[in-house]
């Protein structure tokens, strides 16, 4: 019985909690925080239940719901999950309470902050849960709004950017850039979705997946007066999707909004941004691009692989070059997400061919890397936030020798950094290994380059650790309590547990999506 409503509950509980939060009197800050936090545990509990109840062996989408939503254009409210989305839903519902927990330091307009945060969660979950293209677009876009305001209103207060001769606050610049770039990126998505709707006569992703790739009549017969062959149209629509998702991931050269947005966002915002929002793009590749455009995907997979490799290498070098700790972590996301895309690119090329087995490795790696990066990036941003909270600086040169002042913090930072760097035994290693294993036979050259990128990853991670923890103690902080507090430890603990457990025994999570991935790439 609950299965019928499970996904709807997961989807709407956050926004409901958010709206209820708004009803609490403004002054009762503690009540607001606790209410939001406890409320955000509900979707987590529900998604754990969903994860347990999900049957990996059964093909197709589970826990489906379907209702009329916008009958005039044939869009319906349709939800469903497969293995990939189960994992990502889990990630989103896990990171939200952690982010809320870490937002205790927000003092200004807490109510609105929490409400926006929960709205953001609904937006993210919607993308993972929906099986209707219009709704997909709806949730895809809707997450932008809370994110924009979180950066714009609660972002770092320092820093300015010069734009057109005028000094404007950096957070305004970053938030607007984030919004405009991602919106511009999704224009093509909007057009492509409406075009698909017109041609296919439905927005149901399952149904479209079935008919779209086989479509070969002239478009004029399908009601679109374009005199070009359908292949061309498909190619254009393919690129529209790819660009929209590539901006979100982000893949070089569409990544420029990311460092700014991450740097200026409040800690929790960065956590969600890196932990979940970036996955939306990768999810889009797997959910929509691969099933809808297998032919185009195969033809252009090399472009994606190339860009992914550039992202990995450039991201790593860029991170190395940063003096700002948060920017460093931000660029590391470009680097890590590059592996996700590399895996996807490999699958694009190999899906449905004889080397589909390699594709399974690659996609499994990509999905796991999404999850892992969600954990480690969130953790890193959390830790950067902690240290910034104490020192009010993000400049690596301004820390120094903090290990002695905050041993627990230091330990956690090193642990998380190692996970991020891909130390065997921790989660990052497993997923990157899987990606590399899958991509190697398909794109050997790119994979080699990426591995070289991994070296640089080691360098920048160590640079971060050295800058903060090691070296001579910066006397300025001698009397400052730097040590991580209990609330923050509670927040990061689940992340660490997961990092370790995946690193040691990855199959508990891989088996959730393995069969979905196999069906996806046709192995």
């Amino acid at each position: 019985m609950i299965e019928d409503y499970l996904l709807s509950l997961i989807l709407f509980t956050p926004i409901l909690v958010g709206l209820l939060t708004l009803l609490i009197p403004r002054e009762r800050v503690a009540a607001i925080r606790w209410f939001a936090f406890l409320g955000s545990l509900i979707p987590l509990a529900l998604s754990i239940y969903m994860w347990l109840a999900y049957d990996p062996g059964q093909p197709g989408f589970q826990f489906q719901v379907q209702r009329d939503w916008y009958p005039a254009i044939g869009a319906s409210y349709r939800l469903g999950v497969d293995g990939i989305s189960v994992v990502l839903v889990l990630l989103a519902t896990l990171l939200t309470p952690i982010s809320i927990l870490i937002s205790w330091n927000i003092k200004d307009r807490v109510r609105t902050y929490m409400a926006l945060f929960l709205l953001l969660e609904t937006g993210m979950l919607g993308v993972f849960l929906t099986l209707d293209l219009v709704l997909f677009f709806l949730f895809w876009e809707i997450g932008l709004v809370p994110m924009y305001f979180l950066i714009n209103q609660w972002g770092s207060e320092k820093g300015t950017r010069e734009v057109g001769g005028r000094e404007i606050p950096a957070r305004n610049y970053a938030s607007l850039k984030f919004l405009i770039l991602t919106m511009a990126g999704s224009l093509g998505l909007l057009l492509a979705i409406s075009l698909i709707g017109v041609v296919a006569g439905t927005f149901d992703i399952v149904e479209i997946t079935r008919i779209w790739s086989a479509l070969d009549q002239p478009l004029a017969l399908l009601g679109v007066p374009i005199g070009v062959p359908i292949e061309v149209v498909k190619a254009v629509a393919f690129w529209a999707f790819v660009i929209a998702f590539a901006v979100k991931v982000p893949i070089w050269p569409f990544h420029t909004w990311l460092p700014d947005a991450h740097t200026e966002a409040p800690t929790a915002g960065s956590m969600i941004l890196a932990g979940v929002l970036l996955k939306l793009g990768a999810y889009g590749f797997l959910r929509l691009v691969l099933p809808l455009y297998p032919a185009e995907a195969r033809d252009f997979a090399w472009v994606l692989a190339l860009l992914a490799t550039i992202s990995i290498v450039m991201g790593a070098f860029a991170a190395w070059g940063q003096q700002d700790f948060k920017r460093l972590v931000a660029y590391s996301s470009v680097n890590h997400m590059g592996f996700v895309v590399l895996g996807i690119a490999a699958a694009f090329f190999a899906a449905g061919t004889l080397s589909a087995d390699d594709a399974v490795f690659a996609v499994n790696g990509a999905v796991l890397q999404m999850f892992n990066h969600g954990l480690s990036a969130a953790g890193m941003f959390l830790l950067v936030g902690v240290i910034y909270d104490r020192t009010h600086t993000r400049d690596l040169a301004a820390y120094g020798g903090l290990f002695s002042l905050a041993p627990i913090f230091g330990g956690i930072l090193i642990f998380t950094s190692m996970a991020s760097l891909g130390l065997p035994g921790l989660n990052g290693f497993v997923s990157e290994f899987l990606v590399v294993r899958g991509a190697w036979p398909i794109y050997t050259f790119y994979t080699v380059l990426s591995m070289l990128g991994l070296l640089v990853t080691g360098i920048y991670v160590l640079k971060g650790i050295r800058g903060t923890l090691h070296g001579p103690l910066n006397e300025k902080y001698a009397d400052t309590p730097i040590e991580i507090n209990r609330r923050e430890i509670i927040a990061i603990a689940p992340l660490m547990v997961l990092m370790l457990s995946i690193g040691v025994w990855p199959s508990w999570i891989v088996k959730v999506f393995n069969e979905t991935v196999m069906r996806l790439v046709g192995a």
Binding site: Q153, L190, V198
Partner: protein
Amino acid sequence: MNFPILSVIVFTPVVAGVILLFFPQDRHDWIRWFALAAATLALLLSLVVFIGYDSAEGGYQFQERAEWIPALGISYFVGVDGMSAPMVLLTGIVIFTGVLISWRLDDRPREFFLFLFILATGVFGVFVSLDLFQLFFFYEIALFPMFLLIAIWGWKVTREYAAMKLTLYLFIGSVIALVGGLVMVFSSGLETFDMLQLQTAGFSTTFQRIWFPFVFFGFAVLAGIFPFHNWSPDGHVAAPTAVSMFHAGVLMKLGAFAALRVGIVLLPEGARFWAPLILVLASINVIYGAFIAMVQTDFKYVIGFSSVSHMGLVLLGFATLNRDGLTGAGLQMFSHGVMTALFFAVVGMVYDRTHTREIPRLGGISKVMPLATVAFIVGGLVSMGMPGLSGFVAEFPIFMGLWRTQPIIAIVVVISIVITAAYIMRIIGKVFFGAMPEEFEGQFGDVLVQDKVALVLLSALLVLIGVYPAVMAPMVASGAEAVLRALGVG
């Protein structure tokens, strides 16, 4: 239904306006409360019509008919279909919120509400008219109060110029359409102004092609179609708040609606012939309006040009001449009406307090007027077509419709979304969240309760339709079906 609900809706405002004239001039409170009561009645009744309309059955419902000038086949003939029922509701909403927003108006409120109510009667009348003569009758009733409302209560700097410009533009459009209408009636040989009968007149193709532009563009002037859009931003800017709301919220739809009902429905062949031109002009509206809005520094001009841009989408939807496009256009009319009413309400509130509309001189409004800020943000998101709000629900089918007719246009027009996002976000960032200039510190307080009611109502509607389009979409779709039948493709 025996109760003549449409007639009551149409005449409630004007009757209330006349009664107002007998109030003592200086009892401003009585006048306001009475005006509010009348507006509430109109709103409730239009809600009844909206809810009572049976979308599954379609067609014209709540019909009433009486002989008016039988010698010429003119009758008083009203009814609503899926296109007009939401418009009636929109008018009810805007008149209601318009009265609320005007609570602080102190200069001759009696006359103000009288003219506003005459305007409302005209607008209601057009939306429910099924008789061509009656349509013109109410159409022009809706025009002239604008002049006085703007000229008397408008912004001192440009009101005279703007009022005159607006009135003349619109009047030119309407009389040209009038000649077209008369020619249609004569040529039909039916000796009637009944639009349902005229629909069956079977005008020759040549005739339709010659006369369609007169009728369509005559009305489309009021919808602000390029290059006849010039009156509209000036008018918006000069008008007092409630009038801007009415003007952009309802009047521009009046033009679009009449262009649809008289132009496209009665002269379908002409519509087909001229649709490419309309598509081009309307897409210029969309893009050009958005660009001009972006470079304005006057808060109200930004919104004024954004209306030009958004009305372009409505006309685009019409010009697709297919189900998706028409449905989208119908929804866009409602959505934009509510959204722009909301915009102008907020702009008015800000201006009332700061006495400036120069964006660079404004800032920090969110601290003082949080609710107005939220409302403006909601409106802003609607205007950039953010999914989950009504703007998306309206624009999406328009794009689908465009794919079926002129894909190039769809690709070009979509750019406007980003431009819109840019200028809306710029305003939100500067006016509402920017640093508050010292001169404003502590100078003014939050909006009135009446204002809040209006803002909440308007924002809630935008969200409701966006989240659950099924409250309105099937109705509009049934209206679109009727248009398609007239076009012979439904």
